[in-house]
Symmetry: C2
Subunit: 196 residues, 2 copies
């Protein structure tokens, strides 16, 4: 769940802890409502010490975003390989997507709620690139689906990703599992394959 522990080298431990703390705070309050002091306090260091590991607050957000995308990409890629049927592959991908979004809730929440257009051109470009790269997984999964010609694959993808992303807004722990959510959502889209 946290990045800190998984970074073999002891050397990077502190950096990982700051990253985790930043993800938690950014997820809870949003980027601009979160102060460097908040993050430092959550990480157990003083504000100034953060700047040894990250050049700026913006750099810290970039690192959280990159780590979050990388993680969800890995999980989804791994999940896909467990199935052969195109619909099963999509369902596996969605389950992994929703699961990761809520399991490492902090990183997932940052990805789902920090809009690129609200950040500097430089960071915006990085975020969009990383997101596009990730969405390409779904692009190719959906390309493999046997859909009627009348169904727009573009809207299929956007609606699917939107429906999953929105779960961040309404999900309450203890109700349904991420797998159930993903299964329900995919089942909603599944009949679209047989439509004329």
């Amino acid at each position: 769940m946290a990045v800190a522990e998984t970074d073999g080298k002891r050397r990077d431990n502190r950096r990982g802890r700051i990253l985790d703390a930043a993800a938690v705070e950014f997820a809870r309050s949003g980027y601009s409502a979160t102060s460097v002091r908040d993050i430092a306090a959550a990480a157990g260091i003083l504000p100034g010490s953060m700047y040894y590991h990250f050049a700026s607050k913006e750099d810290l957000l970039a690192a959280v975003h990159a780590a979050g995308i990388q993680r969800i990409k890995e999980r989804v890629r791994a999940a896909i390989e467990t199935a052969d049927d195109p619909w099963d592959r999509l369902e596996a991908a969605c389950a992994a997507h929703v699961e990761t979004l809520h399991a490492s809730k902090d990183y997932g929440s940052v990805i789902a709620t920090e809009f690129p257009r609200r950040h500097s051109p430089k960071l915006r470009a990085r975020m969009i690139e990383e997101r596009d790269d990730y969405e390409n997984i779904f692009r190719s999964l959906i390309d493999d689906l046997p859909l009627p010609e009348s169904t727009s694959r573009k809207y299929f993808r956007l609606a699917l990703i939107g429906a999953m992303a929105w779960s961040i807004a309404w999900y309450r722990p203890g109700e349904d599992t991420a797998e159930e959510i993903a299964r329900h959502i995919v089942n909603l889209f599944r009949p679209a394959a047989e439509a004329k």
Copy 2:
């Protein structure tokens, strides 16, 4: 599009202009990245003058949220009455929803991107209440649909609203119209009615 002009009374003109300016700034940068000075500058007044009309910055957000919800509710309610068939009514509602979300982009964007959980308990409660009230329109529209028992109406509603809300994230003016977007999305869900 703007509230300012529509408020008959001259007396409320300034209040409406501040409200519009706040919606624009909140939509562009988010609540906490927007300063009272930004809003005042956009409204053509001095920062202090805002406090004659609104008790606080938070109150201003509450007013923008309420105005946005009220507007979208009116449009959707009106759109529903143009049709009798349950699916047509849903499609009309979705078209009005997406259209309003993008037409009065500022108010719509604030609704779609300001998460209640990130605000004070008082404001959070108000926002959730207003949203629930609005979502009840869709709740009853979906109750009227002839869906197979295996289809969860709850997930149907959440996925539909999520897919529409997400359009804020990817929509670029000049590509598709709001009506086309809504039609495509509803058509994706429509086959779910005939599934076993």
